[in-house]
Symmetry: C2
Subunit: 153 residues, 2 copies
């Protein structure tokens, strides 16, 4: 009985360890995808950003209704780039969940051409694994600044 | 071999059906918790609202830094109530994920004493199962209005 309990404990610890490794892998994969996002923003490549979202993705931007689907998402970021944002930096704070859907909690900073800070805030992204790659599925954020900077559209 | 394939298919369908039932149950449990939230807001019971969050919960409100822990969360809603909001209504749009952490996507409307709309927007809440009950663990939202109504604090 003790042996069985020990075995069960070992299996449980093993599963938790595997889950921990899986989550660490997921986190670094998501960080890499976030880096792609910021590179594409820096290159003013709105279509490239939209391609990082699932086909059925939905963004929930401040001062706007929901923005649904890649075409609308591309247009949203195209408009946002027209407002002077030259770089976006993300800080991944937390990654929660397992399986094919995880939630990321993070912070962002937007800077203009001269490096001046235009906005800073926080976000939650729900990521979905699609075709072996993590893609943004739901994306909500808000500004920490008062007043909230003008909306992108 | 065909039998084994059929069995595997039946098991898979059965597991998906169970997961579907579990998610439907989770959704109705989360809707019930959301109703408690709105009832307590209607009763101007900020401590009661804070008790619906995990001890280590974090809110990410617009035009504010993160608000961490029940004491700060209670203060935040106390201040928000002081700004004239008399009722909050939630609409649960989606519940994603399984296990002890799920993500809810929804919409909200805040009304004043005369029933006038003060704010409307959308949110993502990460819910955590703690002591058998779903509690708010991470909570982010933003206003759909332009300009964003004044922050609560």
């Amino acid at each position: 009985m003790i042996q069985r309990t020990k075995l069960a404990a070992a299996v449980t610890i093993g599963m938790l360890a595997l889950a921990g490794i899986a989550l660490a892998d997921t986190r670094s994969e998501i960080e890499a995808r976030g880096n792609q996002w910021t590179e594409r923003f820096g290159a003013q490549d709105a279509a490239g950003i939209a391609a990082l979202y699932t086909e059925d993705a939905q963004m929930l931007p401040p001062q706007s209704g929901p923005v649904t689907g890649r075409t609308a998402i591309q247009q949203y970021w195209q408009d946002a780039m027209g407002e002077g944002g030259q770089s976006v930096k993300f800080e991944v704070l937390e990654v929660h969940g397992t399986g094919d859907l995880v939630a990321e909690v993070g912070g962002y900073v937007v800077r203009g051409a001269g490096g001046q800070e235009l906005d800073r805030g926080k976000y939650i992204v729900l990521w979905k694994k699609s075709g072996g790659e993590w893609q943004l599925f739901r994306d909500i954020w808000n500004s920490s600044l008062v007043p909230d900077p003008a909306p992108a559209q």
